[in-house]
Structures are given as C-alpha cells and as structure tokens.
Symmetry: C2
Subunit: 385 residues, 2 copies
C-alpha cells in the first residue's frame, strides 16, 4: 500500500461543551488540523461518530461537516464502529488516499453526548452491544465489562486494588494535558473507595463520557516534505479486525482476539514488534480493558496485564508507556472521537510536544481503538521519520 | 485507480419482514451474493445502513454482520450517508480493494424499518435533514421535498399530473420484479386522486419504506475471469459529492449540484457521456427527485425533466430507461439498502437477466444514490465487458 503521512492535527478539550453545537465542536477540531497542516482545502472528509442519530438527532455527518467547514461539493462520509468509530474513519480515509481516488483527506472523530440525561446516553451506548443477545437481557454496556472483569479476577487471582495503577497513571498524566476532561490526581485509597457502578467496576475503573472532537489530515507521504522543526509522521501500520459482538459467544471471553489479530497485522505491516513501540495509546474504557489490551497486543502474558501497572512499567518513563495524555480514563471518552484523540496524542508524542509526560526519544507509537467489548479493534502504528 | 469488478449479487424482497431479524435479513443478501459469486470467504465487509441505532437499537453493524455470517476476525465497518448509505458503503469498499489493503469485499446495504410505528420512522428519517436549521422548524423530510416540488412547478410551469409518468413507469416495471414491494399498475387518474401526504406530494409521488437488503462482492478485475455465460461487470466510474444539508442554504434549490458533480466525475472516470448510458437506476424517493436527477445528470435541460416521462423516453425501450426494476417508488425504499439495490439491478440489466423489463443490449448502466434532499450524491457507472 502507498505510504501515507499525517500532516496536521487538531483537537478540542474533552468537556461538557453546552455552549457549542455539534457543528461547532467538530468544526473546531477540523479547522485546527487544517491550520496545523497549513492547508485550507482537502479533497475529502471522513467523520467518525457513534451517537449523533440518537443523541443529536443528526445523521449524514460527513456532509453535515463538509457543509459547515466550507468543503461544499467535496466527498464526505461518516463511518461507524461504536467506540471504534474514530479509528475506523481514519482507516477508511487512509484506504481512500492509498487507492489514488483522493489526494488528501481530513479525518475527524466527534461526539457530543452530554446534552442528554444519563439514561439516554446509557441506552445509546448499549447499541454497541448485541441488541438481540445482550441488551435484550437487560445488561448495560458497563455491566458486560463488569462480568468480564469479575471473571478475570477470579481466573487469574487478582484483587480490585491491583488495577489501581492503571487509573492512577492515567490521572497523573492528564494533569499535564490541557485538553483532558479530568484534572485530578488519585490515590490507591480513593480508587478503592470510589462509588460502585457495576460490581466490580467502580467510578475510578470507568472512563467518563464527554463532548469532544479530534482531527488529522492525511496525504501521500511522497508529497510531504518535513515541516521545519517537525519529523514527518507516517502511518506505517493500520489494521482492523473483529470478534463476535456478544461476549458470551467467544471461545475465550478473557482474550481480545480482535486486538491480537489487528495488532499482529499492524506490527507485520510496520515491520516492528511490541518491543519497538515507544508509546501505546490504548483503549482504557474500563481498567479491565487496559489489562486485556496489553495482553492481546503482546506486552504482557495472558492474565498478567496488571503486573505492568504494579511494577511501574506504564508511566511515561517506563518500559510500556500508556495513556500518556490521560487515556480514556482521564482525558475522557467522547466515544466516536476517542480513536482520533489517541492518534493525535501519538503524533504529539512523536513530535516531542508532550512536556511533562513526553516519552524521551519516542519514534514509534501505537494507537488501539476498540468498538464494543472487544468486538471491533483497530490498531495504527505511527513512525517519526 | 485499479479496476474493480462485481462478481456476485444478492438481494431480498423489499417487504415488511416481520418474521426476520435484522441479522437474518442482511445475512440473506450476503449469503446470496457469496453463492452467486461462488465464494465462501471474503477479506472484508462494508455495511451501508442509516436507521439501525434508532429503529433496531443496534450500532456497529459491520461487526454485527461479520459475526452473523461467520466472517470472524475479518475487517468490517458500517458507512452512513442517510439514504445514500448503500452506495457510500460500496465506494468505501471499492477504495479498500483499490488501495491493495483488501483483496475482496462484501458490500451490503440493509435496512429493517417497519417494526416500529410510523411516527418513529418519520422522526428517524428526519435525521437526514439539518437538525438545527430544518428539523428544528418542524418540517419533516417529505415536507422539505414538497417545498422543492412546489417551487419547481411554479418556476417551470408544470402541473402535478405531469409527474405521473415517472410513477406509472416505476409501477409498471415493478410488476416484473419479484423482489419489488409493490405489485400494482397505476393510472394517471389514480396518481391524481391519491391521498395527499404533504402538498403537492401525494402517496403516488412518494416511495414506500420497507425492509430489505442487497449485496455485491467486489474484487480486482484482473483477478476475474468471466463466469461462463456472464459478462464481466466492471465498476468503471465511481464518485461522491456533497451539497449543503439544508435546502434553503443552496444558491439554487432546484438544481442538484452534488448530482451534477458526482455524475460528471463518474462520466469522466468511465470515459462516457449521458448518451452512452443504456440504463439509469436513479433515486426516485419522490417524483420531483426523478426530474431533478435527470436534469443534473445531463439527460434533460433544466426544468425539463418531466418531459422525458411525458414523451415516453423512460420505459425499458425508451431513450433513457429509468427504474427498470421498479425504482424506489415501487421496488421500495429501505433507505440504507436502496443504493445497493440500484447497483444489483444495474448488474441484472448488464447480465440480461431482467426478462420483461430487460433493456435490449444494455452494456453500460448507471446507479445514482442520494442522501438527504440532494446533500450527498454517489454515482456509479458499470460496464459489461
């Protein structure tokens, strides 16, 4: 496949943006990416979004945003893969540019989900699960993850507190990210005493929802000279894989096979192994997902994910830095936008723009975005050249 | 771009499929396409759908269907562009295969929309319009089209009865399509006396909703030998273009500029002109859209679309055969599936499988799928080789 580069990045703060419409929120990230790339026009727009038909009463977000940002006439489309929508839009855009059909693409992940009451959002998020086999039984999305976490703890002998380092690391890193939703450090004691959501998942295991948008501009790498003072960032690995939607249908509910497959494909494509990854923005929607992602992606043995947190390997100066900008846990999880936040944050690391949480000498970064409870997984590997 | 061929096609009848789940409905078309192509595996799945989060409580339809049809592990994604979702999924799949990332793709458009009461569907369809500028004012989707039709009649001096031939042709052709929803011939008198929906659009100007799914399998053309007795069908033109979402924002609300742009790009790519198109499956969601599509795509002068119907140019033996399998009007309009029905029907024409409504010697066919009131338009040109 043709080599594709990321030229520009843009993002809004993850927050409750009650003063901004869906248009304004997504537009802000788009304009920021175009400004960062020093471009005022692109061929096509790919939008990742999960909830807008339900929460915002708006479909057809591709055209909705091409209209709003002044790309009249240009090709535009929305891509949806539940919470994996952001990275799914990136991969669709990447294939568009690589096919030669499109010369440049703006990819934006956007979600505005705090204007509705909690109940509506919980019901809307449940559409990521299997309507016939899971939701029909009355289980919520966090409920499904709670079942997985409880089984994992039982199977591998972990206590709830063993997951604390994941959330503590995410919150500590978010302190230095102005775009993060939560700016508060937490302790193991707070982690243990937090309000229960769905046993054993409590409030500090779970990522907060939020409104946000993040965008990148992609072009064929051969058409890009490095912008002075910046490395050229290339998408050297991209892969998508799926599993069953319903967790109970899986041969092994404690192994993210779609993460394994997509990570393996991305490693092969990029010609790297887990040892080469300097920074890993993973999909910590719940602390259990951090453990499972680390294991499926080759950073820990089966059932040993929590060890990386307990042995202090995951901080920006550790062996496997994760959630360096706060992750879903503390940067926040505006679902359809999350995959694009991860990619934007990896670009920031490879450019060396992360200040206090900068991973020294980061040259290769990975972003892994998950739709459903491991049902759709997209892995992207970025290299600074 | 690499040349892509359509190997297999599949479809369900458009109907009220209360006895089939969303899974079963889409799966039926997928399996039919795989059987038709004599393949039992493809690399990736692209799903076009508009309403499932709202009507069926299900998101992440890519993985939902890859799970159901046994493509575990394979890449899968959903693409949404309102009523243009079907063709948008085809174009995403086409770019995927053309990029070299994917060797074969199954593309399915699917919509199951009759299980909910009428009110919910009307509200769900309104998400194709601009939530802030149109729907907020209380206008429905048919209401927007009615405003356009009234203005068109005023501007160009047409009477309501002048649109009758469009619907009469569609219904007459559907009589010979076993997969069409409506099997009833209609007369000008019936057209004139039909129940009003939103003046001047009455029931026989408007396409019926329905449940349905249609699918194709696409592969690089170079890898395909003709199946004995069948021509090789190549996607020789593919283009997407957008306009403003809100009709009132357009410089000219009576011209489908996105149809014009996407048709022009598709003609250029295929190296053909309107004169070369043997069959044109257009997006007759409302009779006014037939007129506007014919004009924007170069088959009629501005304001003169109805003349093609009145002069009997649109029947299967006319100069510009349209809706040869019944069109949206009589085959039915399961919104996210419609674009794929159009493509499947063009393939049937190019294969010479259309019996009573076969266009003699059809070698080049065009399918045009529209999202919103002309906001997103995708045009595909297929050639029999």
């Amino acid at each position: 496949m043709q080599k594709i580069a990321i030229l520009g990045i843009g993002q809004t703060k993850v927050d409750e943006h009650w003063d901004k419409s869906l248009k304004e929120l997504g537009g802000e990230a788009c304009f920021a990416a175009m400004q960062d790339a020093n471009m005022n026009k692109v061929d096509a727009l790919f939008v990742g979004n999960m909830l807008s038909p339900m929460i915002n009463g708006q479909n057809q977000l591709g055209t909705f945003f091409s209209d709003w940002i002044g790309l009249w006439g240009h090709e535009a489309v929305k891509v949806e893969a539940a919470c994996g929508s952001g990275a799914a839009a990136l991969r669709a855009g990447l294939m568009g540019v690589a096919s030669g059909e499109i010369e440049s693409a703006l990819v934006v992940g956007v979600e505005k989900m705090t204007d509705k009451a909690g109940h509506d959002v919980t019901a809307a998020l449940a559409t990521a699960a299997d309507a016939d086999y899971e939701v029909e039984q009355g289980v919520s999305f966090v409920g499904i993850n709670a079942l997985v976490m409880r089984r994992y703890m039982h199977e591998f002998g972990w206590q709830h507190a063993d997951f604390a380092p994941f959330s503590i690391n995410a919150h500590a890193n978010a302190m230095h990210n102005p775009n993060a939703r939560l700016h508060m450090e937490i302790t193991t004691k707070q982690f243990e005493n937090s309000n229960m959501v769905s046993t054993p998942i409590n409030l500090l295991d779970a990522s907060p929802i939020g409104d946000g948008a993040a965008a990148v501009i992609i072009v064929p790498a051969e058409k890009v000279d490095s912008i002075p003072g910046r490395p050229r960032i290339v998408l050297s690995g991209s892969a998508a894989a799926t599993d069953t939607i319903a967790v109970h249908s899986r041969k092994d509910p404690l192994f993210l096979s779609a993460a394994y497959v997509s990570a393996k494909r991305a490693y092969d494509m990029a010609g790297v192994s887990p040892d080469n990854i300097d920074v890993f923005e993973l999909h910590d929607a719940f602390s259990i997902m951090t453990a499972l992602s680390l294991e499926a992606s080759g950073f820990a043995e089966r059932g040993q994910g929590p060890r990386l947190g307990l042995e202090n390997e995951i901080s920006p100066d550790g062996r496997v830095p994760v959630c360096t900008r706060g992750g879903l846990k503390a940067r926040g999880h505006p679902v359809g936008a999350t995959g694009m936040y991860q990619v934007v944050e990896v670009v920031q690391q490879l450019r060396g723009e992360c200040g206090e949480t900068q991973v020294d000498g980061a040259k290769i970064g990975m972003a892994q975005n998950i739709g459903g409870s491991g049902a759709t997984v997209l892995t992207h590997i970025l290299k600074a050249e």
